[in-house]
Each structure stands twice: as structure tokens, then as C-alpha cells.
Symmetry: C2
Subunit: 316 residues, 2 copies
């Protein structure tokens, strides 16, 4: 397993990605503050390039490559935001990118990756097929594999969102969603490095609570089997993020599915920001009382990529 | 008819409402810029208090009252954003507010006004009933009627959105939607006062194009009879806005209904901002080529109050 990024790595990530990704706004929300019982600030990664914080880690990883490495391109497997983010970062550097995606991935996701000029390499929708297809691509092209969260350069990139929050506001706590754990681990590292008195809390759907169980037990749990509307978080907590988070003694609150959908609707209606269900998970935790009385709380709205034809709140 | 606000009135409005409404962000959109053939900046009044630019004019009008006037409260008729904005402004000043609304107004609109602590006074859904009910309220309470656009204090308040744009960016053109004309006239006055070389262009649904016809002919047209998805713009151009706009020789582009819906979807998907159909009208104009080659163009996204249960883009 690679080592956790150092404070110097976090600082380098900030200068490396500056101007290549957006410095997203940090917006106050009176409605959310009232409902959560704390002063809530929203770090709007839904307004990030490619619609999610993943642009930070992917851009840091792509621009950390040597010219020789970069010339051979990058590759990854993803049916979600990381694939789009890597495709965008590769286009920004002007290098090739291949994204392995299962046959049954939504057409809109494939189109987004293609739209950034990357190759989409289809595979059967199994873990084994995904890994063998990726290995074949990497061998054939010499491309560097950029994992969505088991990569210190990616985690250092994700840490830049929290670093921006700490620059801009005097917060007491930062709350993030947890899937593979790259954002949560990066946020944790940024706070330890730059503002050690700031607390960091994760939020995870109860239906896929392997990260919460892992941090509670000290043993990394198996991949979750449940289903959640926050499909971006249906990922096993990574080994590297787990090691970082265990070392920092971080904890996670879990939220049920109905609360995720109603938190998403709350944000859409009250803040006029489009967020995806994964971003609604920490909001649901806040609305459920997890940060009541905790002072000034920044919530990372992780992304805004939704399919408008399939919204989770139906006609009432 | 009252006189148009002066440059001094516009300046006073800015200081009067400062801290009482949001200074909304001006966001660049690469996707819109590419599609429009100009550098597009979005003035995000959808992120304004009460979800629309109307908070500016209502707040300016309410805080321009003398203490004696204010003590008797304010009233208006509105089934839309102006009613909410006036209710919010009155609450901010701590004075009573009555909003006359037709019996058949959506429950969600009534609830929003009540939520800001105002009275809702129901009336039959006719122009005559609305006016007689309002007159009765004003006589009984002594409240000051704040018209949504035939009021120089309201127009001066709406002008502050453009004044903020001019402060922040070197733009060549500002594009706004047109309904009653308060925003368009205020924007026009702000540019003439503070940046006379900046052009101002209005956009209106073709289905309710009375403002476009009025400015083309020089005679104020009758109230429009058509139906549009941008229901906030289904209003006759006001006499005072018309006088201002005619004096400035402003023009209006019209857009069809399908282009409004697809522009709304474009903004939701590409910028992650929730806008109401009225805000999509100038975007549709830009996507239709109205600002191609015009340099740096600010589009005022007028509001973000939508009913998530009744979105105009259905399942595809």
C-alpha cells in the first residue's frame, strides 16, 4: 500500500491544480443553518469542473506525471464521476485517457466521458472483467492507472477542497460524504495539517455502511451489498483512506434512504443548487441533528451530476 | 405616472438594501459561452433571498418608507415572486404585510408568503376582484401599496443587480428577461447611469410578446393573451418601464416555448443551478444566437422558484 500524502504533498497539490480546476464558492445557507442548529456553509463542489470534487484528485494525479509518463496517457475504471474527471484532466494536459466502463453503464455517463475526448473501453459488468480489461489497456498502451481513491496523489487533490474552506472561513467542523474515502481522508489530512482544532466528520448511507463499521471496529469491512440512492457512495472504503482515517480516529454517522431523498429536495428547493444524492448524505446527517450546536460547519457538496429524467423525488 | 428613478435614486437604493439582500455571485459558464458564441457570465439572482431578484425592489421600497408609513405596513397583489419578496422585506423591517392572491393560486405560493409572516388575502381570480380586494385592504389598514413594477423605488431596487455586475466585470452587454419590465428598465437605467457604452437587451417569450411589440411600435400593447411556460413573464409591460425603455430605445428578442424548456434544462445540467423558466428566456435567446460575437455578456438569471413536482421537461 502506498503511503499517505504528506503536508508538503497537500501544498504541492494546491499549486499544481490552481487555475486548472475551479476554486468553488463557499455559500452560507440560512435555511440549512436554521434546520441544522449550526451555522452551515456549503462548499459547492457541484459547481466544480465536470460537476464533482473528483476533478481535483484526477487533475493532481495527471499533472504529477513526468512528461514521459504523461505521453503514454492515463486509464481508470469508473462508471461515475472519477471517469469524467480523469478524462477532463487528461484533455487539459493534452494526453490520452481510457476509461473502462461496464456494458450496462448509463448512456449519459458514456457520452460524458466521450465528450471530454477519452476512449471508453467496455467490459462485462463484473469486478473480474473490469480488472482484467483495465490491465489489458494498461499493458497495451503503457498508460498510468489512476485509481479513484487508492492513490496518494488523488487523495492530496481531494484535500484541496477542505484547504480552500480553511482559507476562507473560521469553521469548527467539516462534514463530507464517504464512499471510497478519498474525500473524507483528504479532508482529514488537510485539517490535521492546516487547522488541527477543526473536527472532521463523515456521513454514509446506512444501507452501505461498511466505512462506519470499519472505523468502529478497526477492521476494514467487506464491500457493501446494499443498495442506495446515493450510488456514488456504494463503494468499499479503500485501504489507504481507511489507514489514514483510522490513524486520525475519525467517525462516521449514517443516514437512511428517505432522509437522503428529503435532504436532496431540501437543498434543491431552498438553496437552488443541483446536488446529486451523494451530496445529500452529509446534508441529511446535518438535518438529522449530527452537527447541532457545533458552531460553524462546512458541508462538502461533493457533486451535481444527476439524470433529470430519473429524479428520486417523484410527483407528490 | 410617477417619474423614472434618477441616478441618485439608484445610488441610494444600493446603500439602502446593502446587507438586507444578498450580493449574488456572477459566475462564468464555459458551456454556455461555447454554445452562445460569447463570454457568458451569469448573475445568479436565483440565489437571491426569497429566490428571485424581486427581493431587491421590494426591500428598497419597504426601507424607503417613513417610520409612520412603515408602521401601517405594506400590501400588494401577486401570485408569484413579488409577493414573497415583499413579505420578506416587511419581515426584515418588522412591519405588517398583506398579499392579495387569487383563490386558485398554487398552495406552495401561498405557503411561501405565509412562511415569511405575511397575511394572504384571497380574492376571485379576476383583475377586478384583485384590484377591489387590494383597495379594501389598503383602506382598512392604511398600508402602502408596493406595485411589482410601476413604482420608481422598485425599479431602482431592481437596478442594483446590474450595478453589481458593472462593478465586478467589464461587460459589453447585459441580457434580462422581460415581464412587467421592472428588471429590464432598472438594468437599462443602471447602464445608462454607470456605464453608458454597455448595451442592454431584453428577452421575452414569443407567446406573450407585448413588450417586444410595444417597443417596436412605440405604443404600449394590450395585455398578452398567450400562455407560456415562463409564467412569471405573462404580465403586461408596465407604463413606467415602457416609458423608460422607449426613452432608451431598447429592443427585445423573442424565443419560442421549446427553446425556453431546452435552455432551462441546459442550465440545470451544465451549470448545476436551479432556475425557473423565466430565467431560461434570456438563456434561450443567447443559445439562439442573439449575443454571438458580442464580447462579454452578463445574463441575469432572474429567479429559481420552481415546483419540483411539475418540471417542464418530462421523462425522455
Amino acid at each position: 500500500m502506498p503511503s499517505a500524502p504528506t503536508t508538503a504533498d497537500l501544498q504541492e497539490a494546491r499549486s499544481r491544480i490552481a487555475g486548472k480546476v475551479h476554486r468553488t464558492p463557499l455559500m452560507a445557507s440560512a435555511a440549512l443553518s436554521d434546520a441544522a442548529g449550526a451555522t452551515v456553509l456549503l462548499k459547492c463542489e457541484n459547481l466544480q469542473r465536470a460537476g464533482a470534487f473528483k476533478a481535483r484528485g484526477a487533475t493532481n494525479a495527471v499533472f504529477a506525471l513526468t512528461d514521459a509518463e504523461a505521453a503514454r496517457g492515463v486509464c481508470t475504471h469508473s462508471s461515475g464521476n472519477h471517469g469524467q474527471a480523469l478524462a477532463l484532466a487528461a484533455r487539459t494536459r493534452g494526453i490520452p485517457c481510457s476509461v473502462v466502463m461496464p456494458d450496462d453503464a448509463p448512456a449519459v455517463k458514456r457520452a460524458a466521458v466521450l465528450g471530454y475526448g477519452a476512449d471508453v473501453v467496455p467490459c462485462a459488468p463484473t469486478l473480474a472483467a473490469r480488472e482484467s480489461t483495465l490491465a489489458e489497456v494498461a499493458e497495451r498502451t503503457g498508460a498510468t492507472f489512476v485509481h479513484p481513491y487508492e492513490d496518494p496523489r488523488v487523495i492530496a487533490g481531494q484535500a484541496t477542497a477542505a484547504a480552500e474552506v480553511l482559507d476562507e472561513a473560521d469553521v469548527d467542523l467539516i462534514l463530507t460524504p464517504v464512499g471510497g474515502g478519498g474525500l473524507f481522508a483528504g479532508t482529514s489530512l488537510a485539517c490535521r495539517a492546516f487547522a488541527p482544532r477543526v473536527e472532521v466528520l463523515g456521513a454514509e448511507p446506512a444501507a452501505v455502511d461498511d466505512a462506519a463499521r470499519s472505523l468502529a471496529s478497526g477492521e476494514r469491512a467487506e464491500a457493501p451489498a446494499g443498495i442506495t440512492v446515493a450510488d456514488g457512495l456504494r463503494t468499499r472504503l479503500g485501504a489507504l483512506p481507511f489507514a489514514i482515517l483510522r490513524d486520525h480516529a475519525r467517525t462516521i454517522v449514517t443516514v437512511d434512504e428517505a432522509s437522503i431523498v428529503s435532504a436532496m429536495r431540501f437543498v434543491w428547493e431552498r438553496t437552488k443548487l443541483i446536488i446529486e444524492p451523494s451530496s445529500a448524505v452529509p446534508v441529511a446527517a446535518a438535518l438529522g441533528g449530527a452537527v447541532r450546536g457545533r458552531g460553524r460547519v462546512a458541508i462538502v457538496l461533493s457533486g451535481g451530476n444527476v439524470d433529470l429524467d430519473h429524479l428520486p423525488f417523484g410527483k407528490s
